[in-house]
Amino acid sequence: MTAVKLPRRRREIGKGGWRHTAGAAVVALIYFFPVLWIILTAFKTRTDALAIPPKLFFSPTLENFKSVFFRQSITAGSSQETEFLLYFFNSIFIAGTSVLAALIVGTLAAYAFSRHPLKGNDTYLFIILTTRMMPPIVVIIPIFLMFRITGLAGSYWGIILLYTAFNIPFSVWLVKSFFDELNPEIEDAARMDGATERRVFFGMCLPQIYAGLAATFVFGLILTWNEFLFALLLTGVDTRTVPVAMARTMGGEVGVDYGLLAAIVTLFLIPIFFVTFLLQNQLLRGVTFGTVKR
């Protein structure tokens, strides 16, 4: 029998006592350490970055960040503007558009799967998921050839289409689980109150799973944001994303410039940090959705 009231447990900060708090802080630091190290390295000079033993205290420099956008070329001699501004735009545009598109398509599909099941519903859901069961590299050759023939290779729409397609299964499954958790009597009540099917979907179902949609969006965004393989093979000079561009700064005449790489990564983290922080509250509710039995 479904109980009506959710027992609400209020979380009180600091109730865990200093011992547990300190323990949690240590564990958190261990997880955060690689990220912290990257950020620190971004502010180091080349010598500091390569120093052994590693330096924890040093005089910070913004030189690395400057050279992300303006770089001294050995052959040209003068400082030259790099294309990184474009690459950052590409990353944001491509990941944002494709994850949003996948979320929209996925939500519609998930609603259909959840509320209007077909004969063999589970089979279709399973088939949708099979595309995520193999490593992407398996399909890279056919996809590469298809993109070459259709002229999609190197274009924005090509890579957006691909990322959208790769995000849809994940969106469908996740969002379906959120729809499944809703009390269908609420939708019936809305229908009896005179709501059309469209209103039931937009006015009743969607608002109840905003948190879940936010969580799905962030997870998809992180996956897509960091994607390297497809971006490497299927983007062109103008549509290159940051991970690909980053890889191209390695090697060359001067070997690996760790400070520069760290600066790019640091900048690369900011948009994701920002989105995650913005949706933090929704995210927490989203990932715990359905773990509390109504």
Partner: protein
């Protein structure tokens, strides 16, 4: 207000016949109860009337108009769901206004009616809060408010008290009766609780496996249950049902029971028939304090007592058969477990059913 007729309504879930020829009529302005255990088809019946279920057959007519295939929207009925089904992302004010908004009623009128309803149901203080922050009773009243704010012709109530605690349930029963009197709306009330059905319904339909077993007033259901199923369902504690067998005794027919025999002459039952004898716990009395009305007097041993406050239910052991009786608390308090008693089964109070079919003989 509205009349409602269901004729042979069928709803199947795969091989399961949730509604199997469900038929009944509801009169204009009636408070009609549907009584049955869980999964007997109560909810499905209400949902079918609301248009939320796809029927495999039968007709539903409201106010003389066939609504069997009409869309859910615009049937001019409202439903109170077992889970209340309040819109969790809307405030109570928005919840109450929702049916009016969908019906295209203007802002001023909506505000007035929402205010009125909130006043009537004492939820004014919750208007700007959201449903999950309300207590069970408040949620219940909001659910009622949302159902009646549009003034539907027919109100469907699906076990609306199941999720409430006992005290609140008692108060709400009175509340529903009051609402029915004030609104005059035809009400269909589904419940597994015989007490709710008997106290509120003007007529009660007892259903089993998706079909009606008996439709009658609460009084008639209690006094003359149409079969063994209804007999066991209506009345608390439940009727004592004892297996027996008919036998000819001279020109009379009697029923042999484990602890004696009762007369069954003139009922048209042949000898050698398996039957079930029923007697309500309230119809068993202490022999010492009741007049001899020609009933059966028996020796019994007190097996167990369940004090309910004003009365006590007593389990008696009568030669290996368990019978329940009800005594006033002050009488029962003097009884000890294992004590021997002399009890009387009222002569005119017995019920007799066919064992095989359960159908009432007398």
């Amino acid at each position: 207000m509205a009349t409602l007729e269901l004729t042979d309504v069928e709803r199947h879930f795969g091989p399961v016949r949730a509604l199997d020829g469900m038929s009944f009529d509801v009169a204009d302005g009636e408070f009609f109860c549907i009584l049955g255990p869980s999964s007997s088809g109560k909810t499905t019946t209400l949902r079918a009337i609301a248009g939320l279920e796809k029927l495999a057959g039968g007709r539903i007519v409201m106010d003389g108009r066939d609504i069997t295939d009409a869309p859910v929207q615009g049937r001019d009925m409202a439903m109170i769901f077992q889970t209340f089904a309040l819109y969790p992302h809307l405030t109570i004010r928005q919840n109450l206004a929702y049916p009016l908004k969908r019906a295209g009623i203007g802002g001023a009128e909506t505000r007035r009616r929402v205010g009125e309803i909130a006043e009537l149901l004492r939820v004014v203080h919750t208007l700007d809060r959201k449903p999950p922050t309300l207590s069970g009773g408040e949620q219940q009243r909001v659910a009622i408010g949302r159902a009646i704010v549009r003034r539907p012709k027919l109100l469907l109530l699906d076990e609306p008290l199941t999720n409430l605690d006992a005290k609140l349930r008692h108060d709400m029963r009175a509340e529903f009766k009051r609402l029915h009197r004030e609104l005059g709306t035809t009400m269909l009330y589904a419940t597994p609780d015989q007490l709710e059905a008997l106290t509120m319904g003007q007529r009660v339909a007892v259903i089993e496996n998706g079909r009606v077993v008996q439709i009658d007033t609460p009084r008639a259901l209690y006094a003359r249950p149409a079969d063994r199923y209804v007999a066991g369902m209506v009345g608390a504690p439940a009727m004592n049902l004892i297996d027996g067998r008919t036998r000819s005794e001279g020109s009379n027919t009697v029923v042999d029971l484990p602890f004696g025999k009762v007369d069954a002459s003139g009922l048209g039952v042949p000898a050698g028939q398996d039957v079930v004898f029923g007697i309500r716990p309230h119809d068993i009395t202490l022999a010492a304090t009741s007049p001899d009305d020609g009933g059966m007097t028996l020796r019994a041993k007190v097996h167990l007592t369940e004090p309910l406050g004003d009365v006590t239910v007593i389990d008696l052991d009568v030669r290996g058969t368990t019978l329940k009786m009800v005594l006033r608390e002050e009488v029962a308090a003097r009884l000890k477990t294992g004590e021997d008693l002399s009890i009387r089964l009222g002569g005119a109070d017995g019920h007799l059913f066919m064992k095989e079919t359960g159908v009432r003989i007398a």
